[in-house]
């Protein structure tokens, strides 16, 4: 442990005395303080607050991620090139500790920067503002739905012949990707129902509706939601996202507490995508608590990036390692939008291959690229404890451990010139 502590201290001193830590902290604080005056929102306080919450911490996270990942990639390779690493390697220290010490030092710096930024954010926003658990309806999986749709889709005369030529597996994969966009139509005086996993007893329940159709269609919506004893009316919706409060308590003793119904009393049909447009909001705790959980998730995300950068630094020369890590971070940031905007039904083979590669990369880099905790924090959505535990276990425990063990294997081999 003494050796580990000494390696951590050495890396911390290297960053403190090179003024890197000072510059990073100054830039982070400046960004957090200047952000509210430069942010251009939709003109509402709510919009400005959302943008500030997302981009202030998001900006600091991006800054910390890029600078520390580059530092991690350069740490081992720099000392190897300067032949200082060999002086540590001939001491009675396990190679794992050489990589782990540097990783922990950089993670400590990153965590300190993020905690500082989160502290400023808490001071500059209403930290007591509540956030919600967001529950989606319990529906069959997208794959089950895609399997069910396959025959109908293939018999449809409008299905392109190129798609017909594709294998069943490929078509089902495309249909599964499209499943979240399937609409459910609730006609006039009809009732639709969705089952939720809600088992609580709070009286602070809301239904969140998202409308992608035209404003005049939304305006005609008129109906009533019920969840057990709790009910709420909705009419003349002006916003694209409406939150309908339910009054009364829907408790676990009520057999209907898991089923949300909607009676359409309006003059026209209502179209909703159950996977995207309807959710049950259950009040959780405050923004301060949510911010703490989101920061923990960000630290965990940073951790896996640093461990990977450390592995690259152990395996490659400094410039190649830094270039590789920056390239991977750029790819990580770009792939979610590439996948979101891609045409999954593209008939060109090369397009389909490109889509598959982008999809694979997105899946692989999603823990970093999606920035889920920031998105949730900005929208007052609860960053769930179970998710935090899962992310921290994997990104702060399992993945870094594996990557550092790999680094430990690589360090002597790279020293050996391989």
């Amino acid at each position: 442990m003494k050796a580990l502590w000494n390696i951590i201290k050495l890396e911390l001193l290297a960053n403190l005395r090179s003024r890197a830590f000072f510059l990073l902290t100054s830039a982070s604080v400046l960004w957090m303080l200047v952000m509210p005056s430069v942010v251009k929102s939709d003109g509402t306080d709510e919009g400005a607050r959302q943008l500030y919450v997302h981009y202030s911490l998001g900006g600091v996270f991006a800054l910390v991620l890029v600078s520390l990942a580059a530092a991690a990639a350069g740490s081992l390779s720099r000392d190897r090139a300067a032949k200082r690493l060999q002086l540590t390697m001939v001491r009675p220290v396990r190679y794992f500790l050489i990589a782990a010490g540097r990783y922990l030092a950089l993670l400590t710096i990153g965590a300190a920067e993020l905690v500082l930024a989160a502290g400023i954010l808490a001071c500059k926003t209403d930290a007591s503002r509540p956030c919600d658990h967001v529950l989606s309806p319990i529906l069959p999986s997208v794959w089950e739905e895609a399997e069910d749709m396959y025959e109908v889709y293939m018999n449809d005369v409008e299905t392109p012949k190129e798609v017909r030529a594709m294998s069943k597996e490929d078509v089902v994969a495309l249909l599964a990707a499209k499943a979240p966009d399937h609409y459910q139509t609730v006609g006039t005086n009809e009732t639709a129902s969705w089952e939720f996993a809600y088992l609580g007893t709070t009286d602070k329940l809301r239904v969140q509706l998202r409308f992608t159709n035209m404003y005049d269609t939304r305006e005609d919506v008129n109906g009533r939601f019920s969840l057990g004893q709790a009910t709420g009316a909705v009419s003349n919706i002006t916003q694209a996202v409406a939150k309908v409060p339910l009054s009364g308590v829907a408790g676990p003793s009520d057999g209907l507490a898991r089923v949300l119904t909607f009676e359409n009393h309006g003059g026209s049909s209502v179209m909703l995508r159950p996977r995207r447009d309807i959710q049950l909001l259950v009040e959780a705790d405050s923004l301060a608590c949510n911010l703490t959980r989101a920061t923990l998730e960000l630290v965990a995300m940073l951790s896996v990036a640093l461990a990977f950068a450390m592995f690259l630094g152990a395996s490659l020369g400094r410039s190649v390692a830094v270039f590789a890590v920056i390239t991977m971070l750029v790819l990580t940031a770009l792939t979610p939008s590439v996948v979101a905007d891609a045409d999954e039904f593209a008939s060109e083979k090369m397009d389909r291959i490109g889509y598959r590669i982008a999809k694979f990369t997105e899946k692989f880099t999603r823990p970093l690229g999606a920035l889920v905790p920031l998105e949730k924090l900005a929208n007052d959505v609860c960053v769930e404890r179970a998710e935090v535990v899962r992310v921290m276990t994997l990104n702060l425990g399992v993945y870094p451990l594996l990557l550092l063990m790999l680094s430990a294997l690589v360090i002597p081999r790279k020293q050996d010139g391989l």
């Binding site: 502590w5 050495l10 032949k83 200082r84 002086l87 001491r91 009675p92």
Partner: protein, 252 residues
């Protein structure tokens, strides 16, 4: 029975390029043993394979063939490295650390407790005459001062085997004499020392036994007192006289 601290048997080292094609055979079948308490000199011209041999002894390089044992263990084992001290040819210090922090860092790597580390740090700084600049960053040190810090760092763990690669490189004559005296004192205290040097006079002064390597092979080995001539003559006889530079025409 005399314990061998270092044992090399049929050691070969071939460096390869990116495509794993052999480029240089730096060591070609070297057998070497260093017994406890010896001061062993590994001598040879530039590119003869001395540094490669030392790196294999330190576990920094793995042999392509043959075996290297340190205290009967693999040189990469923590137990073997626990008993090892190393002074490289250049000091390779962390420039942002002070002399005191440098020694404490290496003391920590040797798992010394805080009190022992503090005691040894001040004793070693006094030994190499750097107490007055103990709190200055080593990045601003002269080559000779940095060399003294590196020497002190190599001794902080009280090693049983000290590997010195060109220990007097960059030192003035006074400091060179101090280092030679130190090596003799340490050897008298039972420490095993393996050193390389281009300065044959230095090796002659401190080594009890030498090996001359050329082209990765041992060309001579023996005790200093048994060579029969000066080490310089012996060396040239074994390695060759070399050639005079023919001055490039444009320089004439």
């Amino acid at each position: 029975m005399v314990e061998n601290v270092i044992e090399l048997q049929g050691v070969e080292k071939t460096f390869r390029d990116f495509w794993l094609r052999p480029t240089v055979k730096a060591v070609a079948g070297l057998d070497l043993t260093v017994a406890r308490g010896e001061v062993f000199g590994l001598l040879g011209p530039n590119g003869s394979g001395k540094s490669t041999t030392i790196k294999m002894i330190l576990g920094l390089l793995s042999p392509s063939a043959g075996s290297v044992r340190l205290f009967g263990l693999s040189p990469r084992s923590v137990a073997a490295r626990q008993r090892l001290g190393y002074l490289p040819e250049l000091s390779y210090l962390h420039p942002f650390l002070t002399a005191k922090e440098t020694l404490k860092y290496y003391a920590g790597l040797c798992n010394l407790d805080r009190r022992t580390a503090k005691e040894r740090t001040s004793q070693l700084l006094a030994m190499v005459g750097l107490e007055d600049v103990a709190n200055r960053a080593v990045g601003g040190f002269s080559k000779g001062m940095a060399r003294r810090v590196a020497l002190a760092a190599s001794l902080i763990g009280k090693p049983e085997l000290l590997v010195l690669d060109e220990p007097t490189s960059g030192l003035d004559p006074v400091s060179t004499n101090e280092v030679k005296t130190l090596v003799k004192t340490l050897a008298a205290g039972g420490m095993t020392i393996l050193m390389t040097s281009h300065l044959l006079g230095d090796a002659e002064d401190v080594c009890s036994r030498i090996m001359i390597v050329n082209h990765g092979k041992s060309v001579a080995e023996g005790k200093i007192g048994e060579i029969g001539s000066s080490l310089n003559d012996f060396f040239l006889a074994k390695v060759g006289e070399g050639r005079d530079f023919e001055v490039a025409p444009f320089l004439k």
